[in-house]
Symmetry: C2
Subunit: 322 residues, 2 copies
């Protein structure tokens, strides 16, 4: 009998579900369509039946807790609140309570960046650390911040919006309605906007001058850089410099042991980490220089999001055992 937790990662399109043991081994996993345009009840039923199927696959297990990573998930209330990508579910859903009723084990929820931070602490590069940050570089920029070994939730559960600190006065228009937010520069979308600025400034002269704004993806910019495209490399340099400066400020505030980069853009390796590290060190307050490591997550893979959610479940379980 293996003790496991259930990790659920709710995305706008797909939801990933899996059983994870104490050592971060995923014993069984799958994904289902989230169905964010249909009623929440449909989703619940799909999850419940999927978990029954997974149980058959996982062998002899005892499930002791459930962890859920989801957009706008509030750890304190157990609710998903006003999630833009889950509109069919209404203003809010009490997902933790409803899951707990069914599974009869503790259920905790948090947003995906926070789950990623817990995943790094339990299974990834941040094992043994008590003060670090995870910065997730996807469509937007998210952050999960660990202070004294615990997630920083803040007063209302929504702390860690590093993507929305201002980095350029009157800068780019942000989805949040303001201008100059970090994620308008540093994210898959941000680097694409930078690439288009560079194309405009340099009158084309790039492998990417045949791409529409709609079609261009961060991966294309990486591929072009690999083929020696100077503007594509410059797009990474600009992105890294803005990120590095922002991280220098973050270090002054948190004095973290490490900052972990996570997500699609982080997988561009040196193209993004080199300029980021350089700008971070150059702009660091002297007492912090050379103290904070910049590392890339080693949890990339199909089950990463499940591991993060399951780490939340393990944390809740261990708190109850203590």
């Amino acid at each position: 009998m293996t003790t496991v937790t259930l990790g659920i990662d709710v995305g706008g399109t797909n939801t990933k579900i899996g059983f994870v043991d104490r050592h971060g081994r995923c014993l069984a996993s799958t994904h289902i369509p989230t169905g964010a345009d249909k009623p929440f009840d449909n989703f619940l039923k799909d999850v419940f039946s999927t978990v029954e199927e997974l149980k058959k696959e996982a062998g002899e297990i005892e499930m002791v807790a459930v962890g859920i990573g989801a957009p706008n998930a509030n750890y304190y209330t157990g609710k998903i609140e006003k999630a833009v990508n889950l509109k069919g579910w209404g203003e809010e859903v009490a997902i933790a309570d409803l899951m707990q009723e069914h599974f009869k084990v503790p259920v905790a929820i948090t947003n995906d960046a926070n789950a990623a931070a817990l995943g790094e602490m339990k299974f990834g590069v941040a094992q043994g650390m008590k003060n670090f940050l995870v910065v997730t570089l996807g469509t937007g920029l998210g952050s999960g911040i660990i202070v004294n070994g615990d997630l920083l939730y803040g007063h209302d559960g929504f702390a860690g919006e590093l993507g929305h600190i201002n980095v350029v006065e009157d800068g780019r228009i942000c989805g949040c309605g303001r201008r100059g937010c970090l994620e308008t520069y540093v994210s898959a979308t941000g680097i694409k906007r930078t690439m288009f600025e560079l194309l405009a400034d340099n009158n084309g002269s790039s492998l990417l001058s045949n791409k529409t704004f709609e079609d261009l993806e961060a991966k294309d910019i990486f591929d072009a850089a690999e083929q020696g495209d100077e503007l594509a490399k410059e797009a990474f340099a600009v992105t890294g410099e803005i990120l590095g400066k922002a991280l220098a400020d973050t270090i002054a505030i948190f004095s973290p042991e490490a900052i972990v980069l996570f997500g699609g853009l982080a997988s561009a390796g040196d193209y993004i980490t080199s300029p980021t590290r350089e700008a971070m060190e150059a702009n660091c307050l002297s007492i912090f220089k050379g103290k904070t490591r910049l590392v890339v997550s080693n949890l990339e893979g199909d089950n990463t999001a499940i591991l993060g959610s399951s780490a939340l479940a393990w944390q809740e379980y261990e708190k109850q055992q203590a």
Copy 2:
């Protein structure tokens, strides 16, 4: 027999010492010259003899812990490290160990802004709060950040340097060797620099045009504002706007219940709080709007610094009792 802690606040010029009970009553207090240019041993002897004197004054007491607030004091190591204003003491002094040897009770140290945050949580406006920030507006700008009811120390003990986040690209020269740090705009020194920029821009036309840079103090700007001086009022407005914008970013990161302003500049009341609050709300991410209170410390007075240091001692004592 009253149970008390000893609070010691080490400043560049003077050191304040006092006994404080559980309710924040200061039973006896005094101050001595720090003597930062003489050997550290002299300071220790002075503190020890002063405490003996204070004991006579305080009545029947049992001293259970000592808390020390000092520049560059590291909670983790118990040492004051590389403090610019205490040069006679050398590279570092193991002040906590040396005090503990003498007093035979637990001794903890931290910097003055952190002590102020603990003081607010135990005795001041932040009683009952678990997530808040204290921003100290003195010669520079310091911060003490409480997360989940504990001080944010970071990996090395030096977290909370909010005064050194960058707010203006290539902005004012900072004592730290960089440019554009928050404290070059928002502090007693910062508002004086702003006042001089305004005098230059407006070709004088202020009650303060007869002041040298050396002589001008933040208090003079307050007095001029009280007399209706438009440029002096403008100096507060500019200062508050920059502070408010920085606090909006801080809210996105910490989602605190309150931000407490503390220190000389905070006592300028509405002149500083109105523009700060306005800019903070205007620049807040929508999910945080109206959620974080901006308040001024109610602990101002001669014994404030002693209360902060003593709150640290009480926290250590209570941790040991738990």
